[in-house]
């Protein structure tokens, strides 16, 4: 029998130590959003609604980070000027 440990010696609970950005969820996608830059009015509604933080705003134009985009199509559906088209991957 080993000796009982005091609370200071107990191991700390599980600690996730890698960022999930290492895990690319882009391969879940069937349809990919394509932004028509000439139509985009830069309202950033797509950025607000995107559940996967995959819409990138650099201060000048809106682009998609296909590493994480799961292709849900919320951005295309909510775009007020229909500047986003869902195109089948392949």
């Amino acid at each position: 029998m080993s000796e009982l440990k005091g609370w200071r010696e107990l191991p700390i609970g599980a600690i996730p130590f890698k960022l999930s950005t290492e895990f690319k969820t882009g391969d879940w996608r069937t349809f990919k959003p394509v932004i028509k830059q000439d139509k985009c009015v830069k309202c950033l509604l797509c950025w607000i609604y995107c559940p996967d933080m995959s819409i990138v705003w650099d201060g000048e134009k809106v682009t998609v980070n296909y590493d994480y985009c799961k292709g849900c199509g919320i951005c295309a559906h909510e775009c007020p000027v229909k500047a986003i088209e869902m195109v089948k991957e392949g």
Partner: protein, 318 residues
């Protein structure tokens, strides 16, 4: 108090909830968390009860949280948040804590709030801890495969209230959880949806500016559990407000106020849509449109109208 947001500036910041999380495509929960953490300025600590959000954002060894984060059991996120606040107080007394104020935010789903976590929540509000409790309500235990919860509405089909010959989906109404919190005389209680994003962010900012326990009830449409196409998530949240199924309001110091779209509907009742508009786009309610189940739609409509009329009276509009 009014708050304005410059999205074009905020969008340049690194996100506090990182991509690469494994919530379903079309899930509304990451949008809710993203917007709330965007509105929370200054140091923030997040505690999360077991639920979709917790299991999908921290699959070992990965974490999606770009803020200090702690997980606990299903039932005690409010107690954990209380403990964080008490620990900060104790560290301040010893001069071992450098921040003046820290935002403590607890996230829990409807299972972790309506059913399993209500005792811890009630206790934490009664003790008056300074924290914000966010309930993301997807109206069933979605993480384990769509079992009914106290938040599931009347008539919804789930795996433990399946629609068939014996029962037409869940037999009971949704528990009025926000009213239960208001009954605790919490300083600030509000409802929100991710589709009405400015309203959600404003309410978060306002809540965090108030000391004491705050409660935010956010509707979280779930494409897998509610059975709709994943691109419709925000559309359905808008329909929930337009049909007055989920009115947007806030309660502060004994006063009720309707906000955003619900205020518009209150001033122009013609904009209120029938509950069918909200039901017909979701597979979990499709059996209600059979002739033998039509009476449930009528019952739901009467219930929604009753709650809405009551809210108008409380807000002093009628």
């Amino acid at each position: 108090m009014s708050f304005t947001f410059n999205i074009k500036e905020l969008a340049k910041q690194p996100p506090k909830l990182l991509p690469g999380h494994r919530l379903c495509a079309g899930c509304s929960v990451p949008t809710i968390v993203k917007l709330i953490l965007l509105a929370a300025e200054g140091p923030t600590i997040v505690a999360t009860a077991t639920g979709c959000l917790e299991v999908a954002t921290t699959i070992f060894p990965y974490t999606s949280w770009n803020v200090p984060w702690i997980h606990n059991a299903f039932e005690n996120v409010a107690a954990t948040a209380s403990g964080i606040e008490a620990a900060i107080k104790a560290m301040k007394r010893r001069g071992a804590f450098k921040y003046e104020r820290v935002n403590i935010i607890a996230f829990a789903g409807d299972g972790g709030t309506y059913d399993i976590g209500i005792q811890a929540l009630s206790g934490a509000i009664e003790r008056g801890h300074d924290f914000l409790y966010v309930l993301y309500d997807n109206e069933a235990y979605m993480n384990t495969g769509i079992q009914r919860s106290g938040g599931t509405p009347l008539g919804a089909a789930t795996t433990t209230s399946p629609a068939g010959k014996v029962i037409p989906g869940k037999m009971q109404h949704k528990k009025p959880i926000a009213d239960i919190v208001v009954a605790h005389r919490a300083p600030y209680v509000a409802t929100a949806t991710p589709a009405h994003w400015a309203d959600l962010m404003r309410k978060t900012k306002k809540a965090l500016s108030i000391r004491g326990p705050k409660f935010l009830h956010v509707l979280a449409p779930c494409c897998r559990g509610w059975r709709f196409d994943m691109h419709l998530t925000m559309e359905i949240a808008k329909l929930a407000v337009d049909t007055c199924y989920f009115p947007l309001w806030e309660y502060e110091k004994g006063e009720w106020r309707l906000t955003d779209r619900s205020l518009v509907i209150a001033k122009n009742p013609k904009l209120k849509k029938p509950i069918e508009e909200f039901l017909k786009v979701q597979g979990r309610f499709k059996h209600l449109f059979k002739p033998e189940n039509r009476h449930i739609i009528k019952e739901l409509q009467e219930y929604v109208d009753m709650v809405w009329e009551d809210l108008l009276k409380r807000a002093g509009i009628k």
